[in-house]
């Protein structure tokens, strides 16, 4: 424990006293808040768009910036949800239920402050757990061999495929499609070419960045283009109450909500550790639990401060928790973290348990960046949330989304300076759009693609170890545990989602 604390303090110094790192976290977090506040631009899109800028940064600065976008973006979604009744991100869908009624009562200052406090508390607790337990979990995961990794990835892909959409069939199909795409290029064991059809650009593995940008960002541009934008009056924010007490959170109110915040944090933490579920569901679970256990459930939906606190604590608690499977097992837990994993890979870092042995400074740097990002978005939330809301209300999507497209092109091109990659971006943009329309799972496709190579290597190495016998997966306790979890996740899925 003291060693962890020393490493964390050193990393904090490395973030705060190196201008490049500090600027990256500040920029990333503020950009995340702004992007999260912009309906249609989630933090996933934000991270994907910032990828070209990260090429020119050190690995720590680049990852810290993206982690800041993730945290800031998750919080930022609450601002338009409270002020304009439009959630900036799906994770803030629940915040509007009580946030907007508070705004209509002239208490938007109170709602915004509570959202900032609850997000920061939930996020901080989640980060503390991340720091305390990931090292131990990673130490345990270091003992895993290829059969264990295969069953872990199988479990992750099954759960991602089965819970990220309405249909298990389509979700699992998306995961298989991702795995199939990952087989394009050289075979990782024999180095024989597969599915390259004589095209040089396909002889290596399919490039990750154009796929990420196409699937998440270009498809969003097409979705936004569907609606003809008619110039009308910008949405306005209801006037604030003249009573100063209505525009700030008192200590008594914060203390009154602490129980709800901690309970919601717990749900966010739990959901965040499981791959594939994410902040969009944790906010509903946190909110539902807060309403169920409240002495006054009838107040929910009419401007209950606890409602805002529950939703925000639950969704931001996911941010830190999402890093647990990535850093301990190399499995991204959400789309944001999948894109973040892409940034690790671009910088030549393979996330997983070995990262704690090989690059402890980087890992603790990311932890420290997380704490700094929380302080930054708390300050932004307390000082500038209303101003951000006004900017969001006045800004035209007609200017934003074409700009996003050009940044998409730049991001896809810059990684290999390849025109072919930009064509891939268009292909995956259209594919992503069609998948969204037909209810297929984008996270399942992308995460399976990213894990595909590890999945194949661990499977084939396991079979090499056993001489081709599948019994190797049923003779080791950890493998059996994860196979059990895989089957349970499929059978319990319906009941779980209903809850």
């Amino acid at each position: 424990m003291p060693e962890q604390l020393v490493l964390l303090l050193q990393a904090l110094g490395n973030i705060l006293f190196h201008w490049e790192n500090l600027a990256a976290v500040v920029f990333g977090t503020v950009a995340g808040v702004l992007l999260g506040a912009m309906p249609g631009l989630t933090s996933t899109v934000g991270i994907a768009l910032l990828i070209p800028f990260s090429f020119y940064m050190s690995p720590l600065a680049a990852i810290a910036m993206m982690y800041g976008v993730n945290k800031g973006g998750t919080y930022g979604g609450s601002i338009p949800a409270i002020l304009l009744h439009v959630p900036g991100t799906p994770a803030a869908a629940c915040t509007q239920l009580d946030g907007y009624p508070l705004t209509r009562q002239g208490k938007h200052g109170k709602a915004l402050q509570m959202a900032a406090y609850a997000s920061a508390i939930g996020d901080t607790l989640s980060d503390i757990v991340l720091v305390l337990f990931t090292v131990k979990l990673a130490g345990f995961a270091l003992k895993f061999g290829p059969p264990e990794f295969f069953t872990v990835i199988l479990f992750a892909l099954t759960i991602i495929g089965s819970v990220t959409g309405r249909s298990i069939i389509k979700g699992v199909f998306s995961a298989f499609a991702g795995l199939l795409l990952a087989t394009v290029g050289l075979d990782p064991i024999t180095s024989l070419p597969r599915f390259d059809f004589g095209i040089t650009d396909l002889s290596a593995q399919l490039p990750l960045v154009p796929i990420l940008i196409g699937i998440f960002s270009v498809s969003e541009v097409i979705i936004q283009a569907e609606k003809a934008i008619t110039k009308g009056k910008s949405p306005t924010i209801a006037p604030k109450s003249k009573n100063p007490a209505d525009n700030r959170v008192s200590w008594l109110e914060l203390r009154g909500c602490l129980k709800v915040i901690i309970r919601s944090y717990f749900w966010g933490q739990l959901i965040g550790i499981l791959p594939g579920i994410g902040a969009a569901i944790s906010c509903w679970v946190g909110y539902g639990e807060a309403k169920r256990t409240s002495k006054h459930p009838e107040r929910f939906g009419k401007g209950a401060l606890e409602g805002v606190a529950a939703s925000e604590a639950a969704n931001n608690a996911v941010c830190g928790a999402n890093l647990v499977p990535l850093l301990t097992l190399g499995v991204p837990g959400s789309t944001d973290i999948a894109v973040l994993m892409g940034v690790f890979l671009i910088h030549g870092i393979d996330p997983g348990p070995r990262i704690f042995v090989e690059q402890p400074q980087l890992v603790y740097g990311i932890f420290a960046a997380g704490f700094v990002a929380i302080v930054i978005y708390l300050l932004v939330g307390l000082l500038a949330a209303v101003r951000i809301g006004k900017i969001v209300a006045s800004i035209s999507t007609a200017v934003i989304f074409p700009g996003v497209l050009v940044l998409c092109w730049m991001g896809s091109y810059a990684i290999n300076t390849s025109i072919f990659d930009t064509g891939l971006m268009v292909f995956f943009g259209i594919l992503g759009y069609l998948m969204r329309k037909f209810d297929f799972s984008l996270p399942a496709l992308v995460i399976a693609f990213m894990l595909g190579s590890k999945f194949e290597i661990s499977l084939r190495r396991s079979l090499l170890m056993s001489g081709g016998s599948l019994t190797i997966f049923f003779s080791r306790p950890i493998c059996l545990f994860f196979i059990g979890l895989t089957l349970a996740s499929l059978f319990l899925r319906k009941k779980w989602l209903r809850r």
Binding site: L179, T183, F195, A225, V399, W409, I419, M425
Partner: protein
Amino acid sequence: MKLTTNTKIGLFMVVVCLAVYFLAIPTIPEDIWAGSRPGLTSKFLPKVITVSMMILGALLVMNEYIPLESRKAIEVRIEMTRHEKTRALVTMLIIAGYVYAVSLFGFLFPTMLALGMLMWYFGERNWAVIVLTSVGFSWVLYYFFGKIMMLLLPRGWIFSLLKKL
């Protein structure tokens, strides 16, 4: 037999998987282990994945007759008007056209044009905003990536050809 959206998607998935299985997988070269150690060849995983996907496609078709999943839950409801479909299609064409135009004419001019076109298509009608934003943003990106970060932006093969001539 009533063809619902899900049935069509399922059939499409099966056809694509059959094509991959019978046309694409045979193009993978045989490795030295083929035949001697089952399960370890380069074709092994693509085959397993393709067959699994085919089964899932068939399950999606079957679901319409023998419900495995709640039909209501997986029902695809694309509530799009013809106008919205056209807009999505036109946007795809503009994006594809832009990417192709960059390979022909380089980064700067197609970017300005595409930005302007898309802004207009997205509903912006103020010409000053369209011109200033498309020219300004393209130049900022060109200058930042091309001049400061020294990224080799495409010049376009038409311009390269003209220069050679």
